[in-house]
Amino acid sequence: MGASMVATWLLAALGSGVACGLLGVYLVGLELSFLGIAMAHAALAGAVVAHFLHLPVELTAGAASWAVGLALARLAYSSARSSLGALSSIFLSLSMGIAFLGIGMAQGEATMLQGLLWGNILFVRPWQAGALLLIALAVAVFIALSGRLLDALIFARRNEAQPFDPRYVMVAFMTLASLTITLNINFVGGLLIYALLTNPAAAAYEFAENMTALRLWSMLLGVLATCGGLAISWWFDLPTGACVVILSALIYSLALLPRLRSQRCPVRSASQS
């Protein structure tokens, strides 16, 4: 195994952890974890369709994910009666149906397509690692410049107090999220990427007391999950995506632990106060 290969993996893990950690803050804050899932599975379906139609895999997967993200963001600000969770579930099941149909029809090439499901670090090429780093940088710059707008969106539950048009910042956010998800398909896999978008951010929300700390912790925990998962998978010769996701869930459990231990009976606390 060459040093350049290990460097590629590490750079991919770093880029993936930073981008997913930062984006996750807003997906979790908007209570749109299902949106991340729907976008991830749309990318997966797009990749499978691209395989059959001999289209560029990354481009088609990215376009599918972007289209679903924008459609859901649009529906979030529409008068549709279904909740965004229900709408995301509809897109999710449709995407999974297409993906599994394609995988079922592939027969001889099923292994390659299953790699899209679970991710395979061996499939990550140097340009993809570079692209993951670039997208992480783009996400960081975007949040540095537009973070207050996103903060306002996740803070206000209803829209009428917002004095700005949220559509521009949402389109930019969805574009970066779809790119991040698409580039992560080979690393974590289309089936598990949403966990990386959710778990580190959810862990950071458990203890962060301001937005700067929240973003930093989410990013650091994302990197810990990706790099730690990569190390575990390499050491024990296990699937990378699964290791990354299990580690991220473990991190969330650890973040939750102090809160569970300090929990008191709410009725008693209320009466005492």
Partner: protein, 288 residues
Amino acid sequence: MRACVLSGSSPVRSRTSIVPATSGEKQSYIIAVTAASVVSGGRAILSNVSLHIASGEFVAVLGPNGAGKTTLLRLLAASLLPTNGEVSVLGCVTDQLDTSQRYQLRRHIGVVPQRSLHNPLVPLTAGDVIATGFLAGRRLWGQLAKSDSARLVALAEHFEISHLLDRPYRVLSGGEQQKVQLARALAQDPAILLLDEPTSGLDTAWQRRLVELIENIYHTKTLTIVMTTHHPHHLPPSCGRLVYLEGGALTYNGPYDMDILQEWDDRFAREESPCNDDGGECLWARPW
């Protein structure tokens, strides 16, 4: 004739660059609601409401829970369009504006929503919340200018909340949160301030402090204020006009009158839980 406030600011489509009000009577008003109805799920939330508010007026909208007060405020904030009728705010007929223009109009409307309408998961500090008021009209640029930061500090000093700026909003008391929300709404330098039950759920001392603060804002800023409440005794003395909504219909629209307020207060006291006779909500009586 009042021209739409958007005509002199950001570029707008020529179709609605100036939206003239259609009736001669309402053209001098900053807010003109004409026979507006809102129907949702086959149920009328507001029925045929007409209301005209002049610049600089302080109007209180009263009524029991479910009377349509918040819906009326949403119409005035241009975040809801009437099913029938017409709503004109700052000279702009809201249903003739496209979505972008409605957001531009909202730059000039400060809204203090009900207290429960924030996400308690998000650890924004009080300073962060006030800063969102400076984002009025922004698209992607979320940085504060130096002048904005200076105004934020000045607003915090004016509202006596400087010591709260770095504290998470979610740990503040209800009264402190409302002060922060008022500062946020004023940060966008609005022409109209809409207050949705600002004293609801606060203890008596905080209710009094908030009412004094709203009174102070009205006297020191050039603002038109519309405030909803279902507690008649929560009105600042400057309130010049009362509007009463019941079942979505406007049943009273007239000058501030102590006798009428007393009558409403007695009616609310009978209809609501007996434990709120101190003027506050009876928190312990809630089923949760």
